[in-house]
């Protein structure tokens, strides 16, 4: 290290030239400006300060925490708390407001819809779909056909207590007998009833079979589904005269449902969600296009 190299001075710039040349091209060793050197030193010192104050070095398990105790997770929790506090006045107003009051207040309405949409995505979309269009066996919430009713109060009752929910005594109960499987109707009779049901919604069906099915329907089905299949919301019995089918509306699907019906279950949300959340959900579902 004691051997110091001699650098030539470039006559034009006055800068030293590095003794090593690359293909005959030398490189100037111009000293950097003072501010640059000082900024560099300050940055190095800043890094040391950062290591002491903030989380920095990883260990095999864990890391240096820093004396300020900063953590991004705590930071997020704080931001969420701030956001919740900011929503508090609107939530308070919403808790006191009637559904009709919400509908008349654009600010409250927009807040309830935004909250309802988020809650729907978290809790309901798994069955009803993120667009609430439902699926086979899971009702479409966008259309104008409701098993139990689509006004605010009924929607709220359905969400709070669920459908065939085992945990809730006030849940909505409806049970269609397994006419074929339990031997109440023969295969031929099921087919005749099916033909009649199809004719109710104007679908093509064997007229003779439908004729034979008319009496069978009156005897076995009309008690719940109503005269001529207009449905009955008290029992949750679907209307059979329209274009909406929970388990599809073709002959095979209808016959299968008469033979051995499927029954969907919806959990009771009271207790899982607070009343305010349910209120937002009710308002949101009501706004989807089928609200009554």
């Amino acid at each position: 290290m004691s051997e110091h190299r001699k650098y030539e001075i470039d006559p034009v710039t006055g800068s030293p030239v590095h003794p090593h040349t690359w293909d005959g091209i030398g490189e100037l060793e111009t000293p950097p400006p003072r501010w640059w050197v000082l900024t560099y030193v300050v940055c190095v010192l800043f890094a040391f300060g950062w290591w002491v104050l903030y989380p920095a070095w990883p260990f095999v398990s864990g890391y240096t925490k820093g004396i300020l105790g900063f953590s991004t997770r705590a930071d997020v929790a704080e931001q969420i708390a701030v956001a919740k506090a900011a929503q508090a006045p609107l939530n308070d107003r919403l808790a006191k407001a009637d559904y009709t009051v919400i509908a008349a207040d654009p600010e409250l309405s927009a807040f309830a819809l935004a909250g309802g949409k988020a809650l729907f995505g978290e809790n309901c979309a798994q069955c009803h779909g993120s667009g609430a269009a439902g699926n086979i066996g899971y009702p479409n919430l966008l259309d104008d056909d409701w098993l139990w009713g689509g006004d605010f109060a009924t929607l709220q009752a359905t969400i709070e207590h669920g459908v065939r929910a085992t945990t809730d005594g006030d849940t909505r109960q409806s049970m269609m007998p397994a006419f074929g499987k339990d031997g109440m109707l023969t295969r031929a009779q099921v087919d005749d009833v099916t033909a009649y049901v199809l004719s109710l919604s104007g679908q093509p069906a064997d007229a003779a079979a439908a004729e034979r099915g008319t009496q069978l329907f009156a005897d076995n089905c009309a008690a719940c589904h109503g005269d001529k299949g207009i449905g009955m919301r008290e029992t949750g019995a679907p209307r059979l005269t329209d274009a909406i089918w929970l388990y599809q509306g073709d002959a095979k699907a209808v016959a299968a449902q008469v033979w051995n019906p499927r029954h969907g279950v919806m959990p009771a949300w009271a207790g899982r969600l607070d009343p305010l959340a349910i209120k937002k959900l009710v308002y949101y579902v009501h706004s989807l296009g089928g609200g009554e």
Binding site: P31, A133, L142, D143, A243
Partner: protein, 483 residues
């Protein structure tokens, strides 16, 4: 660390003696008087007056919009310029203004050289202001250099403290005025002093105080020389007919000291008094010719003319002139000013076109706009009676600062029926639009099954404002099961 690297250094230097950083001499510009200096004072006063004064101008926009003539409302996502109001989606207008400014700069540079740098650039204006304050407190060039060399004393400390405190105060006023463009000035100024103005305001003021102090007080000409990209690409706009600060070597050389009464025969008019160097705010010697470091402020012109007056010689040894004129004068020909050149005409045309484009965009700005967001999940819903229904969110932009009402109708969808959420039971309802907001209106369009032919139907929503007789149409598409 010990050796300074200059042209007078030995031909070689020991590796260990190369300094860690370069030792650049401090520029201590001398005071100068003259018409160009007066023009610069005037420009500086006007620009600083504009900067500090404009936020206080009021402009009545009615009860629903701020009454500050120029205001950039960041939380509200609006910018107000006198009659004009710019929304975030119209930022292209601001981009257009930047393009106009850039081309205006090119034009001015091609015509007059770096006049922007020398007169109007904030770096120049604020540096000039800081130097003025420095001169008041520490004296002119010679006194300042003497003070720099002087050992520590209470007097030196006092002067230094006074200077830096004044600089920081000017910096704080600069940062303090900047925030006025983003806040209501009469409200935020008292709030600033009572500690209730918010972190963003204090942070901005602190940052701009520091940056003004560093840029105009400490870094000064180094900003122009090392930081500013414009200084580097100015040469692309220059040609031989661009006005630049020029030394006339044909008249000035051979330079040398001159005693009163001596003949001017056989020598140049430059007496090597170095006044042009001493007044230069960037510390260069204009006699070396056009340099990147020259900000074209022309103070050396004043300095040299003052000397020429004393010597009884004509002005203009250093002057604003063009490269081709220097050659002509050297060859004994008269000066020719060619301001109309392909370059200046070209920049001028592009400048006018860009300006016209921005003005058109501002004037033709629609006060009401609508866009349609069709529901995609699901595309359509089948209803009990077999009809199809599509859901849409209409975004209605009320870009006026008054509340408005609009009616929404369907155009070109035979059999289609419109219903608007929260207005289902009203006949042809008027939708309220709050001033300066985007309203999101949920609508449902229902089409009888008999009107659905199996192919998507293109139609439009018509948004009509009866009060202002404005109509906007927004294209939409009706979807159903395709055959």
């Amino acid at each position: 660390m010990t050796a300074t690297v200059t042209n007078r250094s030995p031909a070689t230097i020991d590796e260990a003696d190369i300094p860690v950083w370069s030792h650049r001499p401090k520029v201590q510009p001398k005071k100068v008087k003259g018409p160009i200096r007066n023009l610069k004072w005037l420009v500086m006063a006007v620009l600083l007056g504009v900067y500090w004064g404009v936020p206080w101008l009021r402009f009545d926009r009615g009860p629903f919009a701020p009454d500050q003539a120029i205001l950039i409302d960041l939380p509200g996502r609006k910018a107000y310029f006198l009659w004009f109001e710019i929304w975030p989606q119209e930022v292209y207008i601001l981009a257009g203004l930047l393009i106009v400014a850039a081309i205006g700069l090119f034009f001015a540079t091609a015509m007059l050289g770096r006049v922007w740098c020398g007169y109007a650039c904030p770096q120049t204006v604020w540096t000039d202001l800081y130097m003025l304050v420095e001169r008041w407190i520490e004296g002119d060039r010679a006194q300042r250099m003497k003070l720099d060399r002087a050992p520590f004393s209470l007097k030196k400390l006092g002067k230094r403290l006074a200077k830096h405190a004044s600089w920081i105060l000017i910096g704080a006023m600069t940062g303090g005025a900047w925030i006025l463009y983003f806040n209501d000035a009469p409200t935020v100024v008292p709030a600033l002093f009572t500690g209730s103005a918010g972190m963003a305001v204090y942070g901005t003021v602190a940052f701009l105080t520091a940056s003004t102090y560093i840029m105009a007080g400490v870094a000064r000409e180094n900003v122009c020389t090392y930081m500013c990209p414009y200084a580097r690409f100015q040469s692309a706009m220059f040609d031989k007919d661009t006005l630049v600060v020029s030394y006339h070597p044909a008249r000035g050389e051979v330079r040398g000291k001159h005693k009163a009464g001596e003949s001017w025969e056989g020598r140049g008019h430059c007496i090597d008094c170095r006044q042009c160097v001493e007044v230069c705010p960037t510390g260069i010697d204009i006699r070396d010719g056009l340099q990147m470091t020259c900000i074209s402020c022309g103070l050396c012109v004043d300095a040299c003319n003052n000397i020429m007056d004393r010597l009884g010689l004509p002005h203009g040894l250093v002057s604003y002139d063009t490269e081709s004129n220097i050659e002509r004068v050297a060859a004994g020909q008269p000066r020719v000013w060619r301001f109309l050149r392909l370059r200046t005409i070209g920049y001028g045309v592009v400048f006018m076109a860009a300006l016209a484009g921005v003005l058109y965009a501002l004037v033709a700005r629609a006060p009401l706009e609508a866009s349609v967001l069709a529901d995609r999940n699901p595309l359509f819903v089948r209803l009990s009676n077999g009809d199809y229904r599509n859901g849409y969110t209409l975004k209605l932009l009320n870009k006026s600062n008054q509340p408005q009402q609009v009616a929404i109708t369907l155009d070109g969808l035979a059999g289609g029926e419109l219903s608007i959420l929260s207005h289902e039971n009203e006949v042809s309802p008027l939708i309220d639009l709050a001033p300066d907001t985007v309203a999101a209106v949920r609508v449902f369009v229902r089409l009888p099954a008999g009107d659905w032919a199996g192919q998507p139907l293109d139609y439009a929503f018509t948004i009509h404002d009866p009060a202002r007789d404005l109509t906007v149409t927004a294209p939409a598409r009706f979807e159903g099961p395709q055959k």
